[in-house]
């Protein structure tokens, strides 16, 4: 059987996906050039010490509106090796579904105590932890009533691992109409956090989200 490069799919009802998704089948990389397609990111300790807690803009400021949650997990490559000292860049909408990004023109309510961006570095075992506010869902396509379900953006980089993904929440009504979730099919479940109780810490609940960086690049230098 001859292997072909992937034909990328367009997210249903996603105008930007229609505008930006390549129409040509991706080309296979010749073996002699394969290694050159493996970027290697040196460890970047650019997180500030308070950035693991997105529930406050700084430690002496009040809590943002909404439900404070903890997210924990381990980052591994597909072979099971932990990603040590990997940088996680995290961003999510506030309780009302608004990003504090200069290009978010939705007009939804801002929260003066919520920044919505943070960075953490994985430890020796690939583990990470951060706190944030449970994000609001927002109406992405008012014309057809399609919502973006609650989600947290996470970008992982370190060594030859590179992944930009989103963590979704269990049992959300909008999960299954999301264009990208539709493209993921059954594999969508891997992007859903698992709830746990947090009786002894100052958040209302926790979600476990283990991340596996896939593809040959991630394991290239193992």
């Amino acid at each position: 059987m001859t292997t072909l490069g992937r034909q990328l799919s367009i997210g249903p009802t996603d105008n930007t996906s229609d505008q930006r998704t390549p129409r040509q089948r991706l080309k296979l990389i010749p073996e002699t050039a394969r290694k050159s397609f493996v970027p290697y990111v040196p460890a970047r300790y650019v997180s500030r010490t308070h950035e693991w807690d997105l529930t406050r803009i700084s430690p002496d400021r009040p809590r943002a509106h909404g439900e404070a949650i903890e997210i924990t997990g381990t980052v591994r490559t597909q072979s099971g090796a932990p990603l040590r000292h990997g940088l996680l860049e995290i961003w999510n909408a506030n309780h009302y579904g608004r990003y504090r990004h200069i290009e978010d023109h939705s007009g939804l309510q801002l929260d003066e105590n919520f920044f919505g961006m943070g960075r953490v570095v994985t430890d020796e075992n690939g583990q990470y932890k951060f706190w944030t506010i449970s994000p609001g869902a927002y109406l992405a396509r008012p014309d057809i009533g399609r919502w973006r379900p609650k989600h947290i953006h996470i970008s992982v980089s370190g060594g030859s691992s590179r992944l930009i993904t989103q963590m979704y929440f269990p049992d959300e009504p909008n999960n299954h109409s999301d264009p990208m979730a539709i493209l993921m099919g059954d594999a969508f479940e891997r992007n859903v956090g698992t709830s746990y109780e947090t009786p002894n810490i100052d958040v209302e609940q926790g979600f476990r989200f283990d991340i596996v960086v896939g593809g040959r690049n991630a394991t290239f230098f193992e």
Binding site: L8, L26, R34, Q166
Partner: protein
């Protein structure tokens, strides 16, 4: 996806769209100019300074706003900085080879040094695009008038018109001596930039 037999394999987390709001807050200027590791320290990357600039377009010829671009390249001697080349005498201590920038408008300008020729490869820079509407697409940009282009294995899987789309255009030199190259990317549709599959290959 191919996997080596006998290797423990976990199911990968799905890649997902970056969305339109990748935080500008995460900008790192040291990744936008690879001619130095930090603007405040002595130590310059060896090689010819270049500026790679251009625009990213969507299927309708509109600028693709809010794109995140990442770059990966060999140093002036053609060597990539990876665990394999650790300690190699041709490693440039002042050059890592990984760059990143976010473009609000879809136009970009990236400062680096001209990558060297290596093994069987013509000078090139791997460009990864993350944006709203897509997960991640990857290509390589090449440079005009490089004799190694003729035998480059990546350029050689392309048709003549596709090759032209991956070769940047020289556009003079800045007052401070950087060679300027123009490289526009068309994400979809007429004149689409060739993209490569690093999952299936």
């Amino acid at each position: 996806m191919t996997q080596e037999t006998g290797q423990k394999t976990l199911l990968p987390t799905n890649e997902d769209t970056t969305g339109p709001y990748f935080p500008i807050y995460f900008r790192d200027e040291s990744l936008e100019d690879l001619t130095r590791v930090d603007a405040g320290v002595v130590g310059q990357a060896k090689g010819t300074p270049i500026i790679l600039r251009g625009r990213v377009f969507d299927r309708h010829g509109n600028l693709a706003n809010g794109v995140l671009l990442e770059f990966w390249q060999a140093n002036a001697k053609g060597l990539y900085r990876t665990p394999e080349t650790e300690g190699h005498t041709d490693i440039d201590p002042w050059f890592n080879g990984y760059g990143r920038l976010r473009s609000a408008s879809g136009a970009y300008s990236f400062r680096s040094i001209m990558p060297g020729t290596s093994d069987n490869r013509a000078p090139n820079i791997t460009v990864t695009i993350f944006s709203d509407g897509i997960n991640r697409i990857v290509t390589q940009v090449f440079f005009p008038d490089q004799s190694a282009n003729d035998a480059d294995p990546v350029l050689n899987v392309l048709t003549e018109s596709e090759r032209h789309r991956l070769i940047a255009k020289h556009d003079g030199r800045t007052a401070d001596g950087a060679e300027v190259y123009l490289f526009d990317i068309i994400m979809a549709g007429d004149g689409e930039t060739p993209f490569f599959d690093d999952l299936q290959s």
